[in-house]
Symmetry: D2
Subunit: 318 residues, 4 copies
């Protein structure tokens, strides 16, 4: 299934970059763009202070950052969307030229340059619950999702019909009951996914916990929707937990998948109000609306290069 490519004047070259903070980075990048007459149509900046202040010291005590450096010195993040029609050469040459600029920001610098005119690819993993799949298929069909859905893989066959009605290939990979025997099934899922070299691997209510090596292999592109407002009710049956605790709002969390279950960097969250009369099945129904929207929003931001990861946190230039 294909989504319409952007109209020529909507095409953007999108730079995202994270590096140790120091004065002059913005000037260096924007001067580089100005030199060839590039027009910046959208820009986001964020700098995280270093560990000198008391605030940060307190923060460090709460959760160990993944990178010691980011806590010691400050860190700088930016996203720059350049109108492609104002760039006098192609994305490949732009990448070559910018590599020289990025080198000046130090070896820890991470950056990428996306071409919004290039088709982005997503693969979806599902189980039996179809509301997120149905929503994403509809968005892709209407050109609302900035990606094509290359394939859907289910550990149950239930959603094959819905998928194929949208002209998307469905693969059924049965999973054995015994978790210890699921290795070959995960290997098959991995091969099916990787065949598409996707920009996003979406766990759209996929009820299996990915093994650590798969989390590592798809780091930064495997996205999960958790049907709870994390970290409130981690793990299984969050609505039952929410009912028992008598909370007045339930929510959903879209996050990157990491080996630590339900603890990956959060991309987006939202909530919906409930009251005492709502039973677990009402929460399930109400929760679906918020899950759909939160997953679609988070996935869109990921695909558009709006999400940068910083330790356990994300910077989202929405």
């Amino acid at each position: 299934m294909s989504s319409a490519p952007p109209a020529p004047d909507d095409r953007r070259f999108v730079l995202t970059l994270g590096c140790p903070d120091r004065p002059g980075i913005i000037a260096r990048i924007t001067s580089f763009i100005a030199e060839f007459g590039g027009s910046i149509v959208e820009a986001g900046y964020h700098s995280v202070p270093g560990a000198s202040g008391q605030e940060v010291a307190a923060r460090v005590g709460q959760g160990a950052p993944q990178s010691g450096t980011a806590a010691d010195t400050g860190w700088f993040f930016t996203r720059q969307a350049i109108k492609a029609s104002t760039v006098p050469f192609g994305i490949a040459e732009l990448r070559d030229r910018f590599a020289g600029v990025a080198a000046d920001f130090g070896p820890e610098t991470e950056w990428q340059l996306l071409d919004s005119g290039e088709r982005r690819r997503a693969v979806l993993l599902v189980s039996k619950d179809g509301h997120c799949l149905h929503d994403l298929l509809g968005r892709a069909t209407s050109g609302e999702l900035p990606a094509t859905i290359e394939a859907v893989i289910g550990n149950h066959p239930d959603l094959a019909g819905m998928t194929e009605a949208h002209g998307v290939k469905f693969h059924h990979v049965p999973f054995p009951k015994d978790p210890a025997e699921r290795g070959p099934a995960f290997d098959e899922v991995r091969a099916l996914v990787d065949a598409h070299d996707p920009h996003a691997v979406v766990l759209a209510r996929f009820m299996q916990v990915l093994p650590a090596e798969l989390c590592e292999h798809w780091a930064g592109k495997a996205i999960n929707i958790h049907h709870s407002f994390l970290p409130s009710f981690v793990g299984a049956r969050p609505y039952h937990q929410a009912f028992a605790r008598g909370v007045k709002l339930i929510g959903a969390t879209c996050h990157y998948v990491t080996a630590e279950l339900d603890a990956g960097p959060i991309i987006e969250q939202d909530v919906i109000r409930i009251d005492h009369a709502d039973e677990v099945r009402d929460m399930v129904r109400l929760g679906r609306d918020i899950e759909r929207v939160v997953l679609a929003r988070g996935l869109r931001w990921h695909l558009e290069g709006r999400v940068l990861v910083h330790g356990r946190r994300t910077v989202v230039f929405s």
Copy 2:
């Protein structure tokens, strides 16, 4: 300080009742009211199913209810607001007459009859942080809070001026550094509070953990505002925890105080959106807006007899 009494035609006799469920309770109560020509201007009902269904069985496994009975049989809750001008006798006689009706619903029945024309009394406990106190004093002054604030008690003297500017008595009760030596201070607070026989004891950002016997003594009338969306970040420094986890929404929870810290029945919750650029101090500032509103809303519902407790949960007829 006094708030204006309701205009005569706004006066209500408000019945709240909880009892084991069985058919005919509503008919019995409303017939009783109809017999003397009472006009019901607002009514709420809620019944909690008994333990026969699968849903409830699942639920029970998540959190032990405080009352075994409530899990075995269903439970029924109602709130009925009767226009006082349509009742041909006073609240005392109404209570006497209704006692006979309530007796039919069994010995576990709990009920009360409030007169909205009777002045309700609140006492506030505070520390140094004045935003909730300031908000409640303003609401009381403008007649927006259905209670008078009888006194404010602080473990620091900082908020004496603000309190007295509204004509409310402030008591400073210093608390020793050593938690083990705080018993006498709590005794003094207890005596100062109980002197007013209040309908609500509001912990308006009071930074002391009440001893278990005080929780028990003020059960069902001590109300706390926790500056987090419980159960996400229990305990101290929730905004630091929220920052470290990178959540996209922060919230506040108004709940009854119980001996189990931050686990009392939740009356109201709400959230506010944050993003990566918000540091802990921004969360503190943004959180104040949501804390104020959530506390004021929860307190209002409590004072108007809209909140009934059922195990760890509340029924709120808002």
Copy 3:
């Protein structure tokens, strides 16, 4: 396409009633139910004060109510959901018996008794924009919508494929360009709709204004989703209007269709935040999420008999 019928114990007989207010109505109804041992599992009440007070007098000046009586005397509304398994006879006999009760409340009384076990039927009218249709088809397929979608009628053929993929019949009724010549097309739509005797006629982004006689014919069951927060931007191109005005939130409104365009009684509304960087096309995309949810919520409440109309306003027992 069929949605799963409710499990036996979930079956409800749902009474909705509106009549001139006077003491004793609730007692009369609930005693009637108690006499045969009926168990009320959900109940809502609302009474609108009569025109004696100043408040109402002011209100009347703002918009003429459709019923002079409702402004003169008070009006009473209720919804009672009775567990069907506790009623010792069928819905037909329940209707017969209740007719005697309702007669006592005066000739202006309006009431109905729904059986949640009876299949409810909806017909959808669409144009080219498929996001609301896609959402409703998905909800119906997953059993989330309390109705079957009997047919979809479009004035363009674009959405035939999506509809038929869900096993629902699609009818294409072309509309002439000249509004003056659309009479026969509307006649055909009317016949196609009425063949299903539907409980709801949903204008799911149907871009044609219904003629007055069709509004009248489908009064109380034709439901529209307006892609604006009414009454902010009535009429066409609301997002262009919203952009020009620079509002910070956009919304959607689900309302009953009346001859006065975009002025029918509002069932549900919600909003989504935008900012200066959002152009009209962003609003269109963001607006779709809120339109879908508002329409689905409003339609569900309508189908469950939760919405009662009172002049230009609705009472929603949600």
Copy 4:
């Protein structure tokens, strides 16, 4: 009354600028800052496309922009917060130096450079309704508002006590009943306000319509809170209008004051949910919570130089 000045390392020099768009502006500004080693800690950009595209043409038809130029060519807006401790000279020299840069962007360029270490001044206009005044006084006292409240002026004396309890001077300026005779009163208000040379003139539920010449005189610094979600219910008694129309959400709008009543550029809006049971007086009470928050948020953004006006719209770098 004074609010605490920011800690030395929090001091910022804040540049805001709007000018005709062309490539290279960002590079020019950020290079200027990098040359003296300035550290940019927060930056926002926005460019409005010119009138070449269809979208804009459509937009122009909806509401005449105040500046013909802005519709013809694109427009560029930025806000740059520079850490003051990284600037090797004072704000005056920074302004002098930047003037040379700004000159290159053309004669239509508008810019300012604020020093967050300089005390900002606000004057409040009020009538009888004190909830917004009370909220702002509380925020100022707790150091939460980035300004001092220099004076409060009321056309009624009711709020003198509340104001003076916070140590702020209150001026009572009586207004004649006849609107035609209010000129001298407005002259007195103008003189009292201008004596403080304020950065913000806040109409905190001031129930008088400012004459056109005063709107012009305070253009860009007179801020109003309208107790409605504009443009839904302009003018007086919006809650009565909202009740009559049966809307499901009410809101508040913070906007700049212009000669066209309730049509000035919108700074911030928010809403709160209501239902059929809420009467006008409930809306008044509920609306107060949302008015307070929306006014405080909009005023804060204005004082921090986050709001730039573009025709009838605002760009808010929040």
